[in-house]
Symmetry: C2
Amino acid sequence: LQFPQGSPIGVFDSGFGGLTVLKELQKALPHEQFIYFGDTARLPYGTKSRETIIRYTTQNCSFLEGQGVKMIVIACNTATSMALDSVSLSIPVIGVIDPVIKLIASKRIGILGTRATISSGVYQQKIHALIPDAEITAIPAPLLVSLVEEGFIDHPMTHLAIHEYIQPLLLAKVDTVILACTHFPLLKDLIERALGPSIQVIDPALATAKAVTQKLLELNQLSDEKPGNSIYYVTDDQDKFQRLGPQFLGLPIPQVNLC
Amino acid sequence: LQFPQGSPIGVFDSGFGGLTVLKELQKALPHEQFIYFGDTARLPYGTKSRETIIRYTTQNCSFLEGQGVKMIVIACNTATSMALDSVSLSIPVIGVIDPVIKLIASKRIGILGTRATISSGVYQQKIHALIPDAEITAIPAPLLVSLVEEGFIDHPMTHLAIHEYIQPLLLAKVDTVILACTHFPLLKDLIERALGPSIQVIDPALATAKAVTQKLLELNQLSDEKPGNSIYYVTDDQDKFQRLGPQFLGLPIPQVNLC
């Protein structure tokens, strides 16, 4: 094998949101080493163009490849939808979209994501490829990213923004809503309450963690010796990452490196 | 003279906000040529660290210098507060802070800005240097940037956010509020209404345009021949800039170049 079982797994996001994916990866794969890379100097990605997102994603994946990772998880819906197909490496690269598409059993589907993710149409195309008669209502919800990053989780402004963004989903009578941005799991309870008990809310992080586990098994690269560990790199402001990150990860972050 | 009168003036911002300063510059200096540079691939600056803001500002000023400008206006409070002192060029560089400080006649002053601008303490220090017993209440209002960029100008969420951010200003009984972010002039009417008629709201753009005019006169570099003109450069997504920019500039933007 080119990459030994003990090699780390690279996890990349524009900043903080990918930590909600890392959280599920750490739970599912307690013996793995992870290198998390947050591109905090250039965040957010969700409001930027395809060309720029591809350039940033390619650069960040090269950085992780250079760290000797055995696999890369693009833990960002924007980067997955805009740039996954443009990344060409000798190691497997897994995004957050394909794993969740396979789980969808409904035909009335709502999607909440960044402007870039929604306008890419990738979720819509992949769902239609599997369920040709699916009725999809895809809503860009960019303010939810800012609200989460500013720590306004249970705040009247956030309630108002969620109320606004879900109206078209309720009108379309969806029965399933995909949280197509890695910031939104922090708002999952609020969104579930606003949508009501008959609508299922799906966070792709869990499906992604399962897909990564499956891939490691297939490749016989599952680490089972050492206890797991995570190393963190950001491109700006380690202190802020260390301060705000735990809200996304659900655990303290002992040390952050600047690169 | 190293730079002829007909040379353009460079105007730099992280993205869109600086257009509210360009608007006043165009009004005050109808015979000048302007080169506007918006670093849309890396916006926003207001949530990033001093080191990163200095790096970006230095790079962008070098780009403008390379275009042969006779002067640079840093039309961004974050870049002015964090990086103006680090820019060292052979042409004059004017920020948005010094011009407005000279106009302040009050002792009970409120400031609304980005996290970076407020935490830099530059406004506070400069006001205290001039008015030692000034009582300053400085409030980071980061969500107002996102709300403006998403076009939620007269929206319940924006009312709620303004209401929230101005509470400490009302409690401190300020009589003057500085809009220390170039996005906030778009919310000036709303902020004025929320503060009430006894509080004066100051937009530094006008003072900056006066300071630039004064400097050009001093240096005998005021252009008075050609009709004015503006050229626009952005680092990402010309279409979006052309679409959203006019809201900030108050005029259509005929063409945008990517660099």
